[in-house]
Amino acid sequence: MTEEGAPAELEELRRAPLPVEPLAKSASRRAALWPGFQSAFVRARPDPVRKTPVRAIGVGLLLAGALIAGSLFVGRTTTNPSPAISTVAVPTAGPATVAELAVADGEATVRLVNGVAVTATIDSMLTFDEIEPRVDLGLGVGRFVVPKLPAPDQFSVHTPDARVVVHGTDFVVSVRLDNEHGGTVTSVSVREGVVSVHHQGGEAVLGAGESWSSAEQRAPAPVSASASPPVPAIASASAVTVPTSKPSEQPTSTLTEENALFEKAMAARKAGNDAEVVRLLDAHRRKYPTSPLGPVVERERERAMERAKQP
């Protein structure tokens, strides 16, 4: 047993009440830290991923990094930043059933039996619903190509703070952390077709070339779906994380190149080369100033610079 008791100062520390904070702040802090926890889970996962027998269709899917991780197991996945393309074909059952899966260059593309194609960037958190034609995007960037669906079919993308309902379109949704207000910010950019975005009881209808961000809707003026005619909400270029453009000026997608450069930076981080991480992420900022990966790039760059300062 110990010869003496604990020092008085340590006893005081042990008995001191923990700092109290308002419930709302505590809940906000918990929500804000969840994506980081998920990222830590993704980065720490074992390598290689083991095979698991097929049990059923329409499962939750976690896409992150250069691997398919989480609820979807692929026979040959590795932590190699540039994995070989792997495809999966499964029997059809239900509208959100995964028909095909492809992984290449740090992106994962999933095609559902109803024709919807989803391409997600690294560190995205996607969940496919078993029954409903719906995808939950918890964090990250996903591009959704939805074919024309026969009425009354529809497909929806749910984020922590918005719901995007589509009927046949090509659009990008990004979800990032809101460090200033807590929670997340959802941004939607439409390339083709029409989507309606539901947020805090309001609805915004976006056409091709238009964008919307929940950051711009902090004091929303709900637009009733029955109001005529619905006015598309076009967020300012400085507020959204996806670029706005007119239909005749659709920019060529650089998503693949943006992902590849970001992935190189993450590989350098894994190798412990923080100087290289900063160099690559600086290049990313210069080349793709309006990239949806902007917030993630900034965060990783700051962390690399902090690590580089440590002895």
């Binding site: 047993m1 110990t2 010869e3 003496e4 604990a6 020092p7 100062e9 340590l10 006893e11 005081e12 520390l13 042990r14 001191a16 923990l18 700092p19 904070e21 802090r29 918990r30 804000a32 830290l33 969840w34 980081g36 926890f37 998920q38 830590a40 889970f41 980065r43 720490a44 996962r45 074992p46 991923v49 083991r50 095979k51 698991t52 027998p53 097929v54 049990r55 059923a56 499962v59 939750g60 976690l62 991780a69 989480g70 609820s71 979807l72 197991f73 692929v74 026979g75 792997s86 495809t87 999966v88 074909a89 499964v90 995964v98 899966l101 958190m125 078993e130 029954i131 440590q310 002895p311």
Partner: protein
């Protein structure tokens, strides 16, 4: 049809069962993302509380330290270092304590121990000069404790914090630090002695 890759059934939302610590760790090892949520709920408060206890309050880098604790936690779980001799919350608390001690030592190396507490740290509400004076005295005490801990050997500081601040038993400390109970006890005894000696030096100096 090409050779099918393997997919695994994941329970729908609402059908989740609360897993034991062992089941949770096993599920994490299988990359079960839904287990990650359960784990988060189980360790969030112990990590937060441990950091607050050791550092005295939530400071501007509190969330970074929590993130660091999460990353270390996953690393230990995935590498099989989690000791079944203690619970997951206890394990997470110990990891957070280690992260907090590292932060204290780092700040000490950067000569920021004294200044840091005043920069952006949470401030307790005060109602008058007496409260303010009490708060200042309390802060100085915490700063002194942190300074002493930062100057001690890491093993002894860790044993001291885990036992005398966070209330873990010697058996838990042995499991958490990968040593024997006897070694944990020795570190605790020597740590207390070293703490008192340094505290006396600070008072005299």
């Amino acid at each position: 049809m090409p050779t099918a890759r393997m997919l695994r059934l994941i329970p729908r939302e609402g059908e989740e069962v609360s897993l034991s610590d062992e089941e949770l760790v096993a599920a994490i090892g299988r990359n079960d993302s839904r287990a990650a949520r359960q784990l988060y709920e189980r360790v969030f408060e112990p990590v937060d509380a441990a950091l607050c206890r050791v550092l005295g309050r939530r400071q501007t880098d509190h969330e970074d330290l929590m993130q660091r604790s999460f990353e270390l936690l996953f690393s230990t779980l995935v590498n099989g270092r989690f000791a079944a001799a203690c619970s997951l919350p206890t394990w997470a608390s110990a990891i957070a304590a280690r992260v907090a001690l590292e932060a204290i030592r780092k700040r000490r190396r950067e000569h920021r121990v004294i200044q840091y507490d005043g920069e952006g740290a949470e401030r307790a509400e005060t109602t008058g000069p007496r409260d303010l004076e009490r708060e200042l005295i309390a802060r100085r005490k915490v700063q002194r404790v942190r300074r002493i801990l930062s100057e001690m050997s890491p093993e002894r500081a860790e044993a001291l914090v885990l036992h005398d601040v966070l209330g873990h038993s010697l058996a838990e400390i042995a499991a958490l630090t990968g040593t024997t109970v006897a070694a944990a006890q020795s570190r605790l005894v020597r740590g207390r002695k070293q703490f008192r000696e340094r505290a006396t030096l600070l008072e005299d100096g």
